[in-house]
Each structure stands twice: as C-alpha cells, then as structure tokens.
Amino acid sequence: MASRLPASQRRSLTLKANYLVAYNTLSAALWAVVLARVVATSARDGVENVYENVGNYVKWTQTLALMEIVHAIVGVVRTPLFTTLTQVASRFNLVWPVLGFTATPMRSSPAYAAMLLAWSVTEIIRYSYYAANLQGEPPAWLSALRYNTFFVLYPVGIVTEMWEIYGAMGDLEAFGGAGSSVGWWLAALEKVVLYATYVPGSYVMYTHMMRQRRKMIRGKKVVRN
C-alpha cells in the first residue's frame, strides 16, 4: 500500500512518525521526572508535601495529554476518539477540578503520592512502548512490562483516584464561594463520575488490557513457531 502513495504523502508519513516518536519520548521523559521528584520529595519532606513540590508539574504534564485528543481528531493516530477521550478526561478531572481548583487537604493525602507513583510508572512504560513501537519491534522486556504491570498499577491508580475524588467532595461543593451554584454542580458531576462511571469504566479498561495481553502473547507464539 505505502509504496503506491505519491512521494509527497510518503514523506508526510515519516514526518508523522517522527513527530509521534518525539511526542511519546518527551511524554515518557516528563513522567520520568514526575516519578523521580515524587520519590525524592517523599523521602526528603514526607508524602504530605508531594503536591506542594510536584503538583503544578504534574498538572501541566497531564494537560499535555490533551494533544492525544488532537491526534485522534486530525488522524495521526488510529485510536478512536472516544477511547482517547475517556482516558484523558479521567486524569484531567483529577489534576484540574478535583485537586487543582481548591486547596483541598486531599493534596497532602498519601493517596495522592501513591496515585502519582501508579500514574508515572504506567506512563513511562506506555509512552516508551509507543515510541519504540513506532521504530520497529519494541524490546521484549518493554512489551513484558507494558502487558503485565497494569495488573497492579491499574487497581492502585483507580482506588487512589476514587479516594481523592471522594475526599475532595466537600471542598468542591464550596468552590465558587457562597451564592454561586458552580460548586454544587461540580460536586454533583463528581458524584456521578465517582459512583456511576468508575466501576464500569475500570472493568472495561481492565478487561481491554487483558485481551490485549492475550493477543500479544498469542502473537509472540505465532512468530516463534
């Protein structure tokens, strides 16, 4: 197929691949910094000071992931928009409304540090895997990490995220000050998110990764035989 494309399009394909490699590498590096800073801050100042040190950095690193929605829209990646939207939206919800809008005490909860550990390790592996995959076969150890670590990291991420949303509910309700209804609607939305979307959403994500894992293992066997 590719060879039949006109020269101008063939060049844009490699341009696209180069851009995606750069984007994924940069994202992996940014999350590696998150991981290092979370570990260093926790050791030096204690887990309750993680947000103060890393909060802003995480917020903007996670905001950069909005680019993934743009990628789906302009068609540089094949992932369907809706899949990307749900993945990005749940993280965005945590860093902006839940933890970013108010100075909630949930920022100093140990759950916050645990959540960042789960996020950063997941993202380092995921983005490295994408970057490697764009340049050919990713190394076996990277594939192994990508398709095994989620067993532990997903539940940690999900539980800590839910804990953070649950704990911040009161602060969200007060957002906007007395006389404003914004906080009330925000809290109503977060209740819907927490009680109605997390459980089915987690099930879908987890089983999706298990299917991918089975596919990957089966693919390997076919290649080796």
Partner: protein
C-alpha cells in the same frame, strides 16, 4: 453495447448470505447501481443493507453514472458482499433524535418544573435570599430565553432535515437511531433542561446575556447559510459529491459545525456560564472536530489535487 458481458465472482464478507450466487453476469456498460440491484435481487436483501468491496477491500461506491468498467472491474473480478444489518434512513433518524430536546425543554420549563424540582436535588439558594418553594418561583429572564433558543434551534434542525438537507439516499445501521437518540434525548434534552431550569438559579447578568444572545443569532443564521451551500452541491435525488465553497468554507473544512459549536457556547453564555451547558458545548465541539477531521481526510482522498487542503477543520488556529 457491442462490448462483451462481464462475469463477476461474488463472495460473502463476514457472515454468509444464504442466497448469494457464486457469480453474476452484467453488461460491460452496466452502472454500479445495476450491480447492487442485481445482487439485491438475487439475495433478496434490501439494497441498502449491502456493502460491496473489491478484492483489495476498497469500497465499491454506489453510483448511477459510473460503469463497471470505469470502476476497474474486469471479467472474473471478485467482489465481496457484506450484509450491514437492518438499516434506517438518515432523515428518519434525525427527525426522531431532535424531537426529544425539542419537546423536553418547553415541557420541563412550563409543565414539569414544579414537580421535577420537588423530587430532585438542585443547588441551594444564594445566602441572604429567602428560599422560595420550587413550585412558585417564576422562571428567570435567562431561563425563558434559553428555553426559546433551544426549542427554536431544534425546530430549525427539524425543518432543515425535512426541507434543506439532501441525503445521499444512504442509510445507517438501525442501532444508530437508539445511540443518537439516547445522546440527544438524555444529554441535550433531560440533562440540559434539568440543569438550566432549576428554581434557585440567578438570572444572567446583562454583560453575558445580550452578547450571548447576539452571538447565538449570528451563529444560527451562519449555520443556515452553510447548510444552503451544502445543499447546492447535490442535485435533488442524486448522490453527487462536491467541494463546498463560499461563506465560511474558505476558512475551515466544516463551517457548518463551527457555527453549531459557536451557537452552543452562546447558549452557555446566556446561561451565565452554566457548567453543564459549557460541558455540553465542549463535548459537542470535540465530537464535531473529529467529524470535521474525517471530512477533511475524505476530501483530500476523494478530490486529490482539485481540493485545496485546509489548515483548520473546525476552529481557526485551534483545530
């Protein structure tokens, strides 16, 4: 005439079709539509349920003017036939999905409001005001305006669906009716109505209300103009495709979506920056940006060099 007939080999794609013959013979100057009709007759399936692809899995697009020879089919070419399942017309789907919000908004504000908010939660009143009961608080200026705006918007859409849009006689899977209607009836209808018409809402300040209203009128008129442009691309009853030009179309791929999005942000402004209204506008913007992206890619593929590539598909300098 004079040219020999073509024999096309037929194979099912996906699940087997019970009455599918192994091959059909058509004249060399038969149109693609004639091939579709022949397959439909033999299989006893409605023609809209069938999707025919070539052996390289490219879609054999229905056309009354393209002949089989022009579509690169030769004697002995293989075609793959897929049953798309029960289909429904686009027009029918549109009429039904818009009917939800069209009825739900006025019903909620003028009929259900006293009962609805007696049983469902809503934000507490601002401090220093007495809590009037849900059943006696009259709607604010913003609320009556919003209800009129939203109802008029959907009336416009219904009228455009019936009188303006020229659908390519195509259909969509019947399950789409459920999916689309669920979106419009629940999010555009119930959710928006419930979050806009609650009794303790403060009226919107003039500096948001009037500009919002003006912007909305501009957006709706502009949106209508782009729909008329798109109508002009297709002769009645045809499946013509063309490159749209004119108001808005030189700036972005789908100005019809741009103005639609603008209209919903204007609604959010008249609603005083209501969080649910903003969320609805934003979600609609992302979905329509995605459609616009797909449209841009289709134009580039379909029209090649004749099409001047657009830099922005929905909102200049954003996406």
């Amino acid at each position: 005439m004079g040219q020999p007939d073509l024999t096309l080999r037929l194979q099912p794609r996906g699940k087997p079709l019970p009455n599918l013959p192994g091959e059909i013979t058509v004249p060399a100057d038969a149109s693609i539509d004639a091939v579709y009709d022949a397959v439909a007759r033999k299989t006893k399936y409605p023609v809209h349920r069938l999707r025919i692809t070539r052996s390289d899995s490219s879609h054999l697009q229905r056309s009354s003017s393209t002949t089989v020879t022009a579509a690169n089919l030769f004697d002995g070419s293989s075609l793959f036939i897929k049953d798309l399942g029960p289909q429904i017309g686009w027009r029918t789907t549109y009429i039904i999905e818009y009917l939800g919000p069209l009825l739900i908004h006025p019903l909620t504000l003028y009929l259900l409001r006293p009962f609805l908010y007696t049983y469902l939660p809503y934000p507490p009143p601002p401090l220093a005001t007495t809590h009037a009961s849900a059943s006696t608080t009259p709607p604010t200026r913003a609320q009556t305006t919003l209800c009129a705006m939203i109802t008029l918007h959907y009336i416009k859409r219904e009228l455009e669906t019936i009188f303006v849009h020229r659908f390519s006689a195509a259909t969509m899977p019947a399950t789409n009716l459920i999916k689309n209607s669920a979106y419009y009836w629940s999010l555009g209808g119930l959710l928006l109505a419930y979050t806009l018409y609650y009794p303790t809402a403060a009226d919107t300040a003039d500096y948001l209300y009037y500009p919002g209203l003006a912007l909305w009128i501009f957006a709706e008129l502009s949106n209508f103009s782009t729909h008329m442009t798109l109508r002009g691309l297709r002769r009645p009853g045809s499946r013509d495709r063309g490159i749209p030009t004119g108001y808005g179309f030189s700036t972005v791929t789908c100005p019809n979506y741009s103005f639609e999005v603008l209209g919903w942000f204007a609604v959010a402004a008249v609603a005083g920056g209501s969080l649910p209204a903003l969320g609805f506008a934003l979600f609609g913007a992302v979905v329509q940006a995605n459609w616009a992206g797909m449209r841009e890619r289709r134009y580039r593929k379909e029209f090649g060099d004749k099409y001047k590539k657009k830099k922005w598909v929905l909102i200049p300098f954003v996406v």
